[in-house]
């Protein structure tokens, strides 16, 4: 599965808007994830997961920054996220099903904040893009 030119254009142009709210988007995404899919908290026993926690904010920023890296290198997501891919395969070992859950919560966050931009076409492009990112992050699992 690879992104068409149109899809890449949609992602990149929306990212310009999104990046201005990157940190809060990251925090909100994780809040949504932990509330809607509580089992995902099992990967963070060492975190304070209360809304507004510094750790939540820091981690949310990290996640969104990584998505941003993928956007900036949208023609070579595999290359851009290679180290992160290894991290997830050998250290974090997050079960692959969770990437769908996180992707969904990021989409919902974007949809809520940018309703006018989140057309059906944009929705499709983002869902596909995050699916590609998820594939890259799990491609070294076995």
């Amino acid at each position: 599965m690879s992104l068409t030119k149109t899809e890449r254009t949609i992602i990149v142009s929306m990212w310009a808007k999104i990046s201005t709210q990157a940190d809060t988007i990251g925090t909100e995404t994780l809040e949504r994830l932990f509330l809607s899919h509580p089992q995902t908290k099992t990967y963070f026993p060492h975190f304070d997961l209360h809304p507004g926690s510094a750790q939540l904010r820091a981690h949310g920023s990290k996640v969104v920054a990584a998505v941003g890296d993928a956007v900036k290198s949208i023609d070579n997501i595999g290359g851009a996220l290679s180290k992160l891919s290894e991290l997830h395969a050998y250290i974090l070992r997050v079960d692959p099903v969770n990437f769908k859950l996180l992707s969904h919560c990021l989409l919902v966050t974007l949809a809520a904040r940018f309703p006018a931009d989140f057309t059906a076409e944009a929705h499709a492009a983002w869902d596909k893009f995050l699916s590609v990112v998820s594939s890259v992050l799990t491609e070294k699992y076995r």
Binding site: L35, A112, A120, E121
Partner: protein, 147 residues
């Protein structure tokens, strides 16, 4: 299956009261067909599904979307017995429509996204969590009679 707290029920009911089922139905089914094009397999008779704009403007998509969400809305008054409420529809989806239950999950998440677009800030993480419970429970009820 999911257990709905009184708070969940109140959240779900009050949000649904503000939804235009016709518009939301068309949006939800349309987006399902756009974002997950393989779901078009069930709708050969719907005519032009050749582009995002064709799909979103297709009157059959809108009508069917309204049907689906009306059914979902009807279940909101029976959150404690979704299995019973959807028993017949479950049999229909298995025996006549031959729909893989995976599609119920996809539709549920598209609905959640449509609600987020419509309600914006009001669709808080807490509100979303109640709705995720809802769509998961509906998907489970709809697949409960599969054999």
């Amino acid at each position: 299956m999911g257990h709905f707290t009184e708070e969940d029920k109140a959240t779900i009911t009050s949000l649904w009261g503000k939804v235009n089922v016709e518009d939301a139905g068309g949006e939800t089914l349309g987006r399902l067909l756009v974002v997950y094009p393989w779901t078009q397999r069930f709708f050969d008779s719907f005519g032009n599904l050749s582009s995002a704009s064709a799909i979103m403007g297709n009157p059959k998509v809108k009508a069917h979307g309204k049907k689906v969400l009306t059914s979902l809305g009807g279940a909101i008054k029976h959150l404690d017995d979704l299995k019973g409420t959807f028993a017949q529809l479950s049999e229909l989806h298995c025996d006549k429509l031959h729909v893989d239950p995976e599609n119920f999950k996809l539709l549920g998440n598209v609905l959640v996204t449509v609600l987020a677009i419509h309600f914006g800030k009001e669709f808080t993480p807490e509100v979303q969590a109640s709705w995720q419970k809802m769509v998961t429970a509906v998907a489970s009820a709809l697949s409960s009679r599969y054999h």
